[in-house]
Amino acid sequence: MGKKKKTGIIAACILLAVILLMSILAPVLAPYDPNQIDMKNPLAMSSAKHLLGTDNIGRDVLSRVMYGGRQSILLALAATGLSMALGCLIGMAAGYFGGAADLLITSVSNVFQGLPGMTMMIAIAGLMGAGVKSMLLALVLTSWVGFSRLVRGEVMKLKQELFIEGLKGMGAGNFRILFMHIAPNLLSSITIIFATRIAGSIMSVAALSFLGLGLQPPTPDWSVMINDARSYYRTNPLLAVAPGVCIVCLSLSINIIADWLRDRFDVRRDSVNE
Protein backbone atom coordinates (compact mmCIF):
# COMPACT_ATOMS: atom_id res chain seq x y z
CA MET A 1 0.00 0.00 0.00
CA GLY A 2 2.66 2.43 1.07
CA LYS A 3 4.76 2.00 -2.02
CA LYS A 4 1.97 2.56 -4.50
CA LYS A 5 0.87 5.66 -2.65
CA LYS A 6 4.37 7.01 -2.73
CA THR A 7 4.74 6.64 -6.50
CA GLY A 8 1.35 8.32 -6.90
CA ILE A 9 2.27 11.32 -4.82
CA ILE A 10 5.68 11.65 -6.45
CA ALA A 11 4.11 11.53 -9.91
CA ALA A 12 1.61 14.20 -8.85
CA CYS A 13 4.38 16.45 -7.53
CA ILE A 14 6.36 16.09 -10.75
CA LEU A 15 3.29 16.81 -12.86
CA LEU A 16 2.49 19.89 -10.82
CA ALA A 17 6.10 21.07 -11.04
CA VAL A 18 6.10 20.62 -14.82
CA ILE A 19 2.92 22.64 -15.24
CA LEU A 20 4.08 25.38 -12.90
CA LEU A 21 7.49 25.61 -14.59
CA MET A 22 5.88 25.67 -18.00
CA SER A 23 3.65 28.55 -16.91
CA ILE A 24 6.39 30.50 -15.18
CA LEU A 25 8.86 30.06 -18.01
CA ALA A 26 6.30 30.56 -20.78
CA PRO A 27 7.90 33.80 -22.03
CA VAL A 28 11.20 31.93 -22.44
CA LEU A 29 9.84 28.64 -23.73
CA ALA A 30 7.02 29.66 -26.01
CA PRO A 31 7.99 29.61 -29.68
CA TYR A 32 5.66 32.48 -30.62
CA ASP A 33 3.92 35.46 -29.11
CA PRO A 34 0.64 33.95 -27.87
CA ASN A 35 -1.38 36.81 -29.33
CA GLN A 36 0.39 37.07 -32.66
CA ILE A 37 -2.26 36.79 -35.35
CA ASP A 38 -1.47 35.16 -38.66
CA MET A 39 -4.54 35.38 -40.88
CA LYS A 40 -2.77 33.59 -43.69
CA ASN A 41 -2.47 30.45 -41.64
CA PRO A 42 -5.70 29.80 -39.67
CA LEU A 43 -6.69 26.43 -38.21
CA ALA A 44 -3.46 24.73 -39.26
CA MET A 45 -3.01 21.17 -38.15
CA SER A 46 0.05 20.25 -36.13
CA SER A 47 3.31 20.60 -38.01
CA ALA A 48 6.97 21.17 -37.26
CA LYS A 49 6.34 24.90 -37.29
CA HIS A 50 3.27 24.80 -35.07
CA LEU A 51 3.41 21.66 -32.92
CA LEU A 52 -0.20 21.95 -31.85
CA GLY A 53 -1.39 23.81 -34.93
CA THR A 54 -2.98 27.23 -34.99
CA ASP A 55 -6.39 28.56 -34.03
CA ASN A 56 -9.01 30.31 -36.14
CA ILE A 57 -7.00 33.49 -36.45
CA GLY A 58 -3.67 31.78 -36.84
CA ARG A 59 -2.32 32.09 -33.30
CA ASP A 60 0.11 29.37 -32.25
CA VAL A 61 -1.78 26.94 -29.97
CA LEU A 62 1.33 25.63 -28.23
CA SER A 63 2.40 29.11 -27.18
CA ARG A 64 -1.10 29.93 -25.97
CA VAL A 65 -1.23 26.69 -23.98
CA MET A 66 2.08 27.57 -22.33
CA TYR A 67 0.79 30.98 -21.36
CA GLY A 68 -2.71 29.68 -20.59
CA GLY A 69 -2.26 28.78 -16.95
CA ARG A 70 -0.56 31.93 -15.74
CA GLN A 71 -3.63 34.02 -15.05
CA SER A 72 -5.91 31.30 -13.74
CA ILE A 73 -3.30 29.84 -11.38
CA LEU A 74 -2.58 33.28 -9.97
CA LEU A 75 -6.29 34.02 -9.68
CA ALA A 76 -6.99 30.73 -7.95
CA LEU A 77 -4.12 31.34 -5.54
CA ALA A 78 -5.26 34.87 -4.83
CA ALA A 79 -8.89 33.85 -4.34
CA THR A 80 -8.02 30.97 -2.04
CA GLY A 81 -5.49 33.04 -0.13
CA LEU A 82 -7.97 35.86 0.41
CA SER A 83 -10.74 33.49 1.47
CA MET A 84 -8.32 31.79 3.81
CA ALA A 85 -7.36 35.09 5.42
CA LEU A 86 -10.96 36.23 5.67
CA GLY A 87 -12.28 32.86 6.81
CA CYS A 88 -9.58 32.40 9.42
CA LEU A 89 -10.08 35.83 10.93
CA ILE A 90 -13.84 35.43 11.05
CA GLY A 91 -13.64 31.87 12.32
CA MET A 92 -11.17 32.79 15.02
CA ALA A 93 -13.36 35.66 16.14
CA ALA A 94 -16.44 33.44 16.25
CA GLY A 95 -14.74 30.58 18.04
CA TYR A 96 -12.76 32.67 20.48
CA PHE A 97 -15.28 35.26 21.53
CA GLY A 98 -18.38 33.06 21.23
CA GLY A 99 -21.71 34.53 22.31
CA ALA A 100 -23.35 37.13 20.13
CA ALA A 101 -20.40 37.43 17.75
CA ASP A 102 -20.48 33.70 17.15
CA LEU A 103 -24.23 33.69 16.64
CA LEU A 104 -24.07 36.50 14.11
CA ILE A 105 -21.18 34.95 12.20
CA THR A 106 -22.75 31.52 12.18
CA SER A 107 -26.03 32.86 10.81
CA VAL A 108 -24.24 34.82 8.11
CA SER A 109 -22.23 31.79 7.08
CA ASN A 110 -25.44 29.75 6.97
CA VAL A 111 -26.78 32.22 4.46
CA PHE A 112 -23.65 31.88 2.35
CA GLN A 113 -23.87 28.12 2.57
CA GLY A 114 -27.46 28.16 1.38
CA LEU A 115 -26.45 29.42 -2.01
CA PRO A 116 -24.70 26.96 -4.27
CA GLY A 117 -21.30 28.34 -5.25
CA MET A 118 -21.99 28.39 -8.95
CA THR A 119 -25.20 30.39 -8.56
CA MET A 120 -23.52 32.91 -6.34
CA MET A 121 -20.65 33.31 -8.75
CA ILE A 122 -22.92 33.73 -11.72
CA ALA A 123 -24.93 36.35 -9.86
CA ILE A 124 -22.00 38.38 -8.57
CA ALA A 125 -19.77 38.05 -11.57
CA GLY A 126 -22.63 38.95 -13.82
CA LEU A 127 -24.13 41.83 -11.89
CA MET A 128 -20.86 43.56 -11.22
CA GLY A 129 -19.82 43.10 -14.76
CA ALA A 130 -17.95 40.15 -16.13
CA GLY A 131 -14.30 40.39 -15.27
CA VAL A 132 -11.47 39.42 -13.01
CA LYS A 133 -12.44 41.64 -10.09
CA SER A 134 -15.97 40.34 -9.71
CA MET A 135 -14.80 36.77 -10.22
CA LEU A 136 -12.33 37.20 -7.40
CA LEU A 137 -15.01 38.65 -5.15
CA ALA A 138 -17.41 35.86 -6.01
CA LEU A 139 -14.81 33.19 -5.32
CA VAL A 140 -13.84 34.70 -1.99
CA LEU A 141 -17.47 35.10 -0.92
CA THR A 142 -18.23 31.48 -1.67
CA SER A 143 -15.17 29.89 -0.14
CA TRP A 144 -14.45 31.76 3.07
CA VAL A 145 -17.15 29.78 4.89
CA GLY A 146 -15.21 26.53 4.53
CA PHE A 147 -12.25 28.05 6.35
CA SER A 148 -14.22 29.88 9.01
CA ARG A 149 -16.23 26.79 9.95
CA LEU A 150 -13.15 24.71 10.46
CA VAL A 151 -11.25 27.40 12.30
CA ARG A 152 -14.22 28.16 14.54
CA GLY A 153 -14.53 24.52 15.57
CA GLU A 154 -10.81 24.08 16.17
CA VAL A 155 -10.53 27.30 18.14
CA MET A 156 -13.41 26.27 20.37
CA LYS A 157 -11.69 22.97 21.02
CA LEU A 158 -8.31 24.58 21.63
CA LYS A 159 -9.81 27.13 23.96
CA GLN A 160 -10.65 24.30 26.33
CA GLU A 161 -7.36 22.51 25.91
CA LEU A 162 -5.04 25.46 26.20
CA PHE A 163 -6.38 26.72 29.52
CA ILE A 164 -7.04 30.14 28.10
CA GLU A 165 -8.13 31.38 31.51
CA GLY A 166 -4.69 30.52 32.81
CA LEU A 167 -2.99 32.39 30.00
CA LYS A 168 -5.22 35.36 30.64
CA GLY A 169 -4.33 35.20 34.30
CA MET A 170 -0.70 35.45 33.29
CA GLY A 171 -1.52 38.72 31.58
CA ALA A 172 -1.77 37.60 27.98
CA GLY A 173 -4.13 39.70 25.84
CA ASN A 174 -6.75 38.25 23.51
CA PHE A 175 -4.73 39.22 20.49
CA ARG A 176 -1.61 37.56 21.83
CA ILE A 177 -3.47 34.37 22.77
CA LEU A 178 -5.13 34.13 19.37
CA PHE A 179 -2.03 34.62 17.30
CA MET A 180 0.70 33.22 19.52
CA HIS A 181 -1.06 30.24 21.06
CA ILE A 182 -4.03 29.30 18.93
CA ALA A 183 -3.02 30.10 15.37
CA PRO A 184 0.04 27.80 15.25
CA ASN A 185 -2.17 24.84 16.18
CA LEU A 186 -4.44 25.44 13.22
CA LEU A 187 -1.73 25.25 10.59
CA SER A 188 -2.06 21.63 9.53
CA SER A 189 -5.83 21.62 9.14
CA ILE A 190 -5.77 24.96 7.31
CA THR A 191 -3.12 23.62 4.95
CA ILE A 192 -5.35 20.66 4.12
CA ILE A 193 -8.35 22.78 3.22
CA PHE A 194 -6.16 25.26 1.42
CA ALA A 195 -4.90 22.50 -0.86
CA THR A 196 -8.41 21.16 -1.45
CA ARG A 197 -9.83 24.63 -2.07
CA ILE A 198 -7.08 25.53 -4.54
CA ALA A 199 -8.18 22.68 -6.78
CA GLY A 200 -11.78 23.83 -6.38
CA SER A 201 -10.86 27.42 -7.21
CA ILE A 202 -9.04 26.36 -10.34
CA MET A 203 -12.15 24.54 -11.49
CA SER A 204 -14.34 27.54 -10.65
CA VAL A 205 -12.04 29.99 -12.45
CA ALA A 206 -12.08 27.67 -15.44
CA ALA A 207 -15.87 27.33 -15.45
CA LEU A 208 -16.47 31.07 -15.05
CA SER A 209 -14.00 32.02 -17.74
CA PHE A 210 -15.57 29.45 -20.02
CA LEU A 211 -18.99 31.03 -19.43
CA GLY A 212 -17.46 34.40 -20.30
CA LEU A 213 -17.74 35.68 -16.72
CA GLY A 214 -14.08 35.65 -15.80
CA LEU A 215 -11.00 36.09 -17.91
CA GLN A 216 -11.86 37.63 -21.25
CA PRO A 217 -10.55 36.96 -24.73
CA PRO A 218 -8.00 37.50 -26.14
CA THR A 219 -6.25 36.53 -22.88
CA PRO A 220 -4.33 33.34 -23.58
CA ASP A 221 -6.14 31.21 -21.00
CA TRP A 222 -7.03 27.53 -21.11
CA SER A 223 -10.77 27.96 -20.55
CA VAL A 224 -11.00 30.97 -22.83
CA MET A 225 -9.23 28.90 -25.48
CA ILE A 226 -11.68 26.05 -25.05
CA ASN A 227 -14.57 28.49 -25.36
CA ASP A 228 -13.02 30.06 -28.47
CA ALA A 229 -12.56 26.60 -29.91
CA ARG A 230 -16.24 25.71 -29.66
CA SER A 231 -16.87 26.50 -33.31
CA TYR A 232 -13.61 25.09 -34.62
CA TYR A 233 -12.67 21.99 -32.67
CA ARG A 234 -14.27 19.82 -35.31
CA THR A 235 -11.52 20.95 -37.70
CA ASN A 236 -8.69 20.80 -35.19
CA PRO A 237 -9.64 18.90 -32.01
CA LEU A 238 -6.30 19.89 -30.43
CA LEU A 239 -7.67 23.42 -30.06
CA ALA A 240 -9.98 22.18 -27.31
CA VAL A 241 -8.15 19.07 -26.18
CA ALA A 242 -4.72 20.54 -25.38
CA PRO A 243 -5.81 23.28 -22.96
CA GLY A 244 -8.27 20.88 -21.31
CA VAL A 245 -5.55 18.34 -20.69
CA CYS A 246 -3.57 21.08 -18.93
CA ILE A 247 -6.48 21.97 -16.63
CA VAL A 248 -7.04 18.29 -15.81
CA CYS A 249 -3.34 17.68 -15.08
CA LEU A 250 -3.15 20.74 -12.87
CA SER A 251 -6.20 20.02 -10.76
CA LEU A 252 -5.56 16.27 -10.70
CA SER A 253 -2.07 16.73 -9.32
CA ILE A 254 -3.30 19.19 -6.71
CA ASN A 255 -6.17 16.90 -5.73
CA ILE A 256 -3.80 13.96 -5.28
CA ILE A 257 -1.47 16.06 -3.14
CA ALA A 258 -4.42 17.35 -1.09
CA ASP A 259 -5.61 13.79 -0.54
CA TRP A 260 -2.21 12.76 0.59
CA LEU A 261 -2.04 15.64 3.03
CA ARG A 262 -5.42 14.70 4.41
CA ASP A 263 -4.46 11.05 4.88
CA ARG A 264 -1.28 12.07 6.60
CA PHE A 265 -2.37 14.83 8.89
CA ASP A 266 -6.06 14.46 9.51
CA VAL A 267 -6.40 12.87 12.91
CA ARG A 268 -10.02 12.02 12.35
CA ARG A 269 -9.27 9.75 9.44
CA ASP A 270 -6.77 7.83 11.53
CA SER A 271 -9.52 6.21 13.49
CA VAL A 272 -10.62 4.40 10.33
CA ASN A 273 -7.24 2.77 10.08
CA GLU A 274 -7.22 1.38 13.58
Partner: protein, 304 residues
Protein backbone atom coordinates in the same frame (compact mmCIF):
# COMPACT_ATOMS: atom_id res chain seq x y z
CA UNK B 1 -33.14 27.78 10.81
CA UNK B 2 -34.47 27.75 7.29
CA UNK B 3 -36.38 31.02 7.50
CA UNK B 4 -33.40 33.25 8.34
CA UNK B 5 -31.39 31.56 5.60
CA UNK B 6 -34.08 32.25 3.06
CA UNK B 7 -34.44 35.82 4.34
CA UNK B 8 -30.71 36.37 4.16
CA UNK B 9 -30.51 35.06 0.64
CA UNK B 10 -33.41 37.23 -0.48
CA UNK B 11 -31.73 40.33 0.97
CA UNK B 12 -28.54 39.31 -0.74
CA UNK B 13 -30.32 38.79 -4.03
CA UNK B 14 -31.95 42.17 -3.69
CA UNK B 15 -28.71 43.90 -2.74
CA UNK B 16 -26.97 42.33 -5.68
CA UNK B 17 -29.51 44.05 -7.84
CA UNK B 18 -28.89 47.36 -6.07
CA UNK B 19 -25.15 47.01 -6.48
CA UNK B 20 -25.53 46.62 -10.20
CA UNK B 21 -23.69 49.45 -11.93
CA UNK B 22 -26.05 49.60 -14.89
CA UNK B 23 -29.02 51.99 -14.92
CA UNK B 24 -32.08 49.90 -15.66
CA UNK B 25 -34.05 52.87 -16.92
CA UNK B 26 -31.41 53.73 -19.40
CA UNK B 27 -31.14 50.09 -20.34
CA UNK B 28 -34.83 50.03 -21.27
CA UNK B 29 -34.97 53.32 -23.10
CA UNK B 30 -31.60 53.16 -24.69
CA UNK B 31 -30.62 49.54 -25.15
CA UNK B 32 -28.05 50.19 -27.86
CA UNK B 33 -26.77 53.45 -26.42
CA UNK B 34 -27.61 55.57 -29.44
CA UNK B 35 -30.82 57.38 -28.44
CA UNK B 36 -31.08 60.63 -26.58
CA UNK B 37 -33.42 60.14 -23.65
CA UNK B 38 -36.21 62.56 -22.89
CA UNK B 39 -36.11 63.46 -19.15
CA UNK B 40 -39.88 63.17 -18.79
CA UNK B 41 -39.92 59.77 -20.33
CA UNK B 42 -37.02 58.81 -18.09
CA UNK B 43 -38.96 59.84 -14.98
CA UNK B 44 -42.06 57.94 -16.04
CA UNK B 45 -40.15 54.74 -16.50
CA UNK B 46 -38.31 55.28 -13.25
CA UNK B 47 -41.60 55.77 -11.45
CA UNK B 48 -43.09 52.70 -13.08
CA UNK B 49 -40.19 50.59 -11.91
CA UNK B 50 -40.55 51.98 -8.38
CA UNK B 51 -36.96 53.10 -8.33
CA UNK B 52 -37.75 56.36 -6.49
CA UNK B 53 -38.84 54.59 -3.29
CA UNK B 54 -36.42 54.22 -0.39
CA UNK B 55 -34.42 51.00 -0.54
CA UNK B 56 -36.18 49.09 2.27
CA UNK B 57 -39.54 49.89 0.68
CA UNK B 58 -38.28 48.65 -2.63
CA UNK B 59 -37.11 45.47 -0.92
CA UNK B 60 -40.43 44.83 0.80
CA UNK B 61 -42.33 45.48 -2.42
CA UNK B 62 -40.02 43.25 -4.34
CA UNK B 63 -40.20 40.49 -1.77
CA UNK B 64 -43.99 40.68 -1.59
CA UNK B 65 -44.12 40.33 -5.30
CA UNK B 66 -41.57 37.56 -5.30
CA UNK B 67 -43.54 35.64 -2.68
CA UNK B 68 -46.66 35.79 -4.78
CA UNK B 69 -44.69 34.67 -7.78
CA UNK B 70 -44.64 38.12 -9.35
CA UNK B 71 -41.03 38.30 -10.38
CA UNK B 72 -41.46 41.27 -12.65
CA UNK B 73 -40.67 41.67 -16.26
CA UNK B 74 -37.39 41.34 -18.00
CA UNK B 75 -35.93 44.77 -18.82
CA UNK B 76 -35.07 43.68 -22.27
CA UNK B 77 -37.57 41.26 -23.63
CA UNK B 78 -40.32 42.79 -21.48
CA UNK B 79 -41.62 39.27 -20.98
CA UNK B 80 -43.05 38.09 -17.68
CA UNK B 81 -40.18 36.42 -15.78
CA UNK B 82 -42.72 34.14 -14.12
CA UNK B 83 -43.83 32.74 -17.45
CA UNK B 84 -40.29 32.39 -18.68
CA UNK B 85 -39.30 30.51 -15.55
CA UNK B 86 -42.32 28.25 -15.83
CA UNK B 87 -41.41 27.45 -19.41
CA UNK B 88 -37.73 26.83 -18.70
CA UNK B 89 -37.96 25.12 -15.35
CA UNK B 90 -38.92 21.64 -16.60
CA UNK B 91 -35.77 21.42 -18.71
CA UNK B 92 -33.51 22.31 -15.83
CA UNK B 93 -35.32 20.09 -13.36
CA UNK B 94 -35.21 17.15 -15.74
CA UNK B 95 -31.51 17.67 -16.30
CA UNK B 96 -30.79 18.07 -12.60
CA UNK B 97 -32.80 14.98 -11.71
CA UNK B 98 -31.01 12.95 -14.33
CA UNK B 99 -27.66 14.22 -13.06
CA UNK B 100 -28.76 13.38 -9.54
CA UNK B 101 -29.77 9.87 -10.58
CA UNK B 102 -26.36 9.34 -12.17
CA UNK B 103 -24.68 10.65 -9.02
CA UNK B 104 -26.65 8.37 -6.74
CA UNK B 105 -26.23 5.24 -8.86
CA UNK B 106 -22.57 5.56 -9.73
CA UNK B 107 -21.49 7.42 -6.61
CA UNK B 108 -22.91 4.76 -4.32
CA UNK B 109 -21.78 1.91 -6.54
CA UNK B 110 -18.19 3.12 -6.72
CA UNK B 111 -18.16 3.99 -3.04
CA UNK B 112 -19.39 0.55 -1.98
CA UNK B 113 -16.94 -1.19 -4.29
CA UNK B 114 -14.04 0.84 -2.92
CA UNK B 115 -15.04 0.17 0.68
CA UNK B 116 -15.44 -3.57 0.11
CA UNK B 117 -12.17 -3.89 -1.77
CA UNK B 118 -10.35 -1.54 0.53
CA UNK B 119 -6.66 -1.08 -0.33
CA UNK B 120 -6.94 -3.65 -3.12
CA UNK B 121 -6.45 -2.95 -6.84
CA UNK B 122 -10.14 -2.14 -7.37
CA UNK B 123 -10.02 0.42 -4.58
CA UNK B 124 -6.86 1.99 -5.95
CA UNK B 125 -8.19 2.15 -9.50
CA UNK B 126 -11.51 3.66 -8.44
CA UNK B 127 -9.84 6.12 -6.12
CA UNK B 128 -7.80 7.36 -9.03
CA UNK B 129 -10.85 7.44 -11.28
CA UNK B 130 -12.90 9.43 -8.77
CA UNK B 131 -10.05 11.90 -8.22
CA UNK B 132 -9.84 12.27 -11.98
CA UNK B 133 -13.59 12.90 -12.13
CA UNK B 134 -13.15 15.72 -9.63
CA UNK B 135 -10.42 17.22 -11.76
CA UNK B 136 -12.17 17.26 -15.13
CA UNK B 137 -14.00 20.50 -15.92
CA UNK B 138 -17.56 19.70 -16.97
CA UNK B 139 -17.43 21.96 -20.01
CA UNK B 140 -14.33 20.29 -21.37
CA UNK B 141 -15.74 16.83 -20.80
CA UNK B 142 -18.84 17.95 -22.69
CA UNK B 143 -16.72 18.90 -25.68
CA UNK B 144 -14.85 15.60 -25.55
CA UNK B 145 -18.16 13.74 -25.39
CA UNK B 146 -19.40 15.62 -28.43
CA UNK B 147 -16.17 14.86 -30.28
CA UNK B 148 -16.40 11.16 -29.56
CA UNK B 149 -20.11 10.36 -29.56
CA UNK B 150 -21.38 12.86 -32.09
CA UNK B 151 -18.51 13.54 -34.45
CA UNK B 152 -16.78 10.17 -34.51
CA UNK B 153 -19.40 7.59 -33.59
CA UNK B 154 -22.59 9.47 -34.60
CA UNK B 155 -24.40 7.92 -31.65
CA UNK B 156 -25.99 10.89 -29.96
CA UNK B 157 -27.57 14.18 -30.99
CA UNK B 158 -25.50 17.31 -30.20
CA UNK B 159 -28.23 19.63 -29.19
CA UNK B 160 -31.96 19.89 -29.38
CA UNK B 161 -34.16 17.81 -27.20
CA UNK B 162 -35.24 14.57 -28.74
CA UNK B 163 -36.13 12.46 -25.77
CA UNK B 164 -33.88 10.63 -23.41
CA UNK B 165 -30.79 10.32 -25.58
CA UNK B 166 -30.37 14.08 -25.73
CA UNK B 167 -30.05 14.20 -21.95
CA UNK B 168 -27.22 11.67 -21.73
CA UNK B 169 -24.29 13.96 -22.44
CA UNK B 170 -25.64 16.94 -20.47
CA UNK B 171 -26.39 14.59 -17.58
CA UNK B 172 -22.83 13.28 -17.53
CA UNK B 173 -21.50 16.83 -17.72
CA UNK B 174 -23.55 17.86 -14.73
CA UNK B 175 -22.84 14.76 -12.66
CA UNK B 176 -19.17 14.04 -13.30
CA UNK B 177 -17.70 15.79 -10.29
CA UNK B 178 -20.54 14.96 -7.91
CA UNK B 179 -20.15 11.27 -8.74
CA UNK B 180 -16.52 11.60 -7.68
CA UNK B 181 -17.34 13.39 -4.44
CA UNK B 182 -20.23 11.08 -3.63
CA UNK B 183 -18.17 7.93 -4.24
CA UNK B 184 -15.39 9.12 -1.97
CA UNK B 185 -17.80 10.16 0.74
CA UNK B 186 -19.58 6.81 0.53
CA UNK B 187 -16.27 5.01 0.85
CA UNK B 188 -15.23 6.90 3.99
CA UNK B 189 -18.68 6.65 5.56
CA UNK B 190 -18.83 2.90 5.05
CA UNK B 191 -15.30 2.45 6.34
CA UNK B 192 -16.20 4.54 9.38
CA UNK B 193 -19.14 2.24 10.03
CA UNK B 194 -17.10 -0.91 9.40
CA UNK B 195 -14.88 0.11 12.31
CA UNK B 196 -17.80 0.13 14.73
CA UNK B 197 -18.60 -2.62 17.15
CA UNK B 198 -22.00 -3.61 15.82
CA UNK B 199 -20.33 -4.60 12.56
CA UNK B 200 -17.96 -6.96 14.38
CA UNK B 201 -20.95 -8.41 16.19
CA UNK B 202 -22.80 -8.87 12.89
CA UNK B 203 -19.79 -10.82 11.59
CA UNK B 204 -19.73 -12.90 14.76
CA UNK B 205 -23.19 -14.14 13.85
CA UNK B 206 -21.71 -15.79 10.78
CA UNK B 207 -22.80 -13.17 8.26
CA UNK B 208 -20.44 -12.91 5.30
CA UNK B 209 -18.53 -9.74 4.53
CA UNK B 210 -20.81 -8.68 1.69
CA UNK B 211 -23.94 -8.96 3.80
CA UNK B 212 -22.29 -7.22 6.72
CA UNK B 213 -21.30 -4.33 4.49
CA UNK B 214 -24.59 -4.00 2.66
CA UNK B 215 -27.13 -4.77 5.37
CA UNK B 216 -25.38 -3.07 8.24
CA UNK B 217 -22.54 -0.69 7.39
CA UNK B 218 -24.10 0.72 4.21
CA UNK B 219 -27.51 1.24 5.75
CA UNK B 220 -25.97 3.22 8.56
CA UNK B 221 -23.73 5.24 6.27
CA UNK B 222 -26.81 6.35 4.31
CA UNK B 223 -27.42 8.91 7.03
CA UNK B 224 -24.37 11.09 6.27
CA UNK B 225 -24.63 10.31 2.55
CA UNK B 226 -28.19 11.62 2.36
CA UNK B 227 -27.19 14.92 3.95
CA UNK B 228 -24.48 15.31 1.38
CA UNK B 229 -26.69 14.40 -1.58
CA UNK B 230 -29.33 16.90 -0.48
CA UNK B 231 -26.77 19.67 -0.35
CA UNK B 232 -25.54 18.71 -3.75
CA UNK B 233 -28.87 18.75 -5.51
CA UNK B 234 -28.89 22.52 -5.28
CA UNK B 235 -25.28 22.49 -6.46
CA UNK B 236 -26.19 20.37 -9.44
CA UNK B 237 -28.85 22.89 -10.37
CA UNK B 238 -26.13 25.55 -10.40
CA UNK B 239 -23.77 23.34 -12.36
CA UNK B 240 -26.43 22.61 -14.94
CA UNK B 241 -25.82 26.11 -16.30
CA UNK B 242 -22.71 24.98 -18.13
CA UNK B 243 -24.41 21.97 -19.62
CA UNK B 244 -27.37 24.11 -20.69
CA UNK B 245 -25.09 26.58 -22.42
CA UNK B 246 -23.05 23.97 -24.27
CA UNK B 247 -25.94 21.76 -25.30
CA UNK B 248 -28.37 24.60 -26.03
CA UNK B 249 -30.92 23.53 -23.48
CA UNK B 250 -33.41 26.35 -22.80
CA UNK B 251 -33.28 25.91 -19.01
CA UNK B 252 -33.08 28.56 -16.34
CA UNK B 253 -29.29 28.43 -16.17
CA UNK B 254 -29.10 29.47 -19.78
CA UNK B 255 -31.69 32.15 -19.05
CA UNK B 256 -29.63 33.46 -16.14
CA UNK B 257 -26.41 33.58 -18.15
CA UNK B 258 -27.93 35.61 -20.92
CA UNK B 259 -29.55 37.87 -18.32
CA UNK B 260 -26.23 38.31 -16.58
CA UNK B 261 -24.58 39.38 -19.79
CA UNK B 262 -27.23 42.02 -20.44
CA UNK B 263 -27.45 43.11 -16.77
CA UNK B 264 -31.08 42.08 -16.66
CA UNK B 265 -31.05 42.09 -12.93
CA UNK B 266 -34.64 41.12 -12.18
CA UNK B 267 -33.99 37.90 -14.00
CA UNK B 268 -30.77 37.26 -12.10
CA UNK B 269 -32.53 37.99 -8.82
CA UNK B 270 -35.26 35.58 -9.71
CA UNK B 271 -32.64 32.98 -10.51
CA UNK B 272 -30.82 33.46 -7.20
CA UNK B 273 -34.09 33.31 -5.28
CA UNK B 274 -35.09 30.21 -7.14
CA UNK B 275 -31.88 28.39 -6.23
CA UNK B 276 -32.37 29.40 -2.62
CA UNK B 277 -35.85 27.99 -2.77
CA UNK B 278 -34.49 24.73 -4.10
CA UNK B 279 -32.07 24.65 -1.18
CA UNK B 280 -34.90 25.09 1.27
CA UNK B 281 -37.07 22.47 -0.39
CA UNK B 282 -34.17 20.02 -0.47
CA UNK B 283 -33.51 20.59 3.22
CA UNK B 284 -37.11 19.68 3.94
CA UNK B 285 -36.91 16.64 1.69
CA UNK B 286 -33.80 15.46 3.54
CA UNK B 287 -35.58 15.88 6.85
CA UNK B 288 -38.34 13.66 5.50
CA UNK B 289 -35.83 11.12 4.21
CA UNK B 290 -34.24 11.02 7.64
CA UNK B 291 -37.54 9.78 8.96
CA UNK B 292 -37.20 6.82 6.65
CA UNK B 293 -33.54 5.98 7.08
CA UNK B 294 -32.92 7.01 10.67
CA UNK B 295 -35.13 5.26 13.20
CA UNK B 296 -33.77 7.45 15.99
CA UNK B 297 -35.50 10.46 14.48
CA UNK B 298 -38.63 8.46 13.73
CA UNK B 299 -38.80 7.26 17.32
CA UNK B 300 -38.26 10.82 18.56
CA UNK B 301 -41.19 11.98 16.45
CA UNK B 302 -43.50 9.41 17.97
CA UNK B 303 -42.72 10.44 21.50
CA UNK B 304 -42.63 14.17 20.87
Amino acid sequence: MLVPVLFGISVLAFMLGMASPGDPVEAILNPDGTQIIDQKEYDIVRERLGLDDPVPVQYVKWLKNALTGELGRSFFTNKEIKEQMAYRLPYTIRLACFGMALTVVFGLLFGILMAMRRDGPVDHALRFLTTLMLSVPGFWLAILLILVFVEKLHLLPTSGLNGFSSYIMPGITVAISTIGVCARLTRTSILDELGKQYVTVASSKGLNARKVTMRHAFRNSLIPITTFLGNYFAGILGGSTIAEVIFNIPGIGNYAISAVKSRDYYVVQAYVLFTALVYVVMTLVIDLLYLVINPKIRAGEKIG
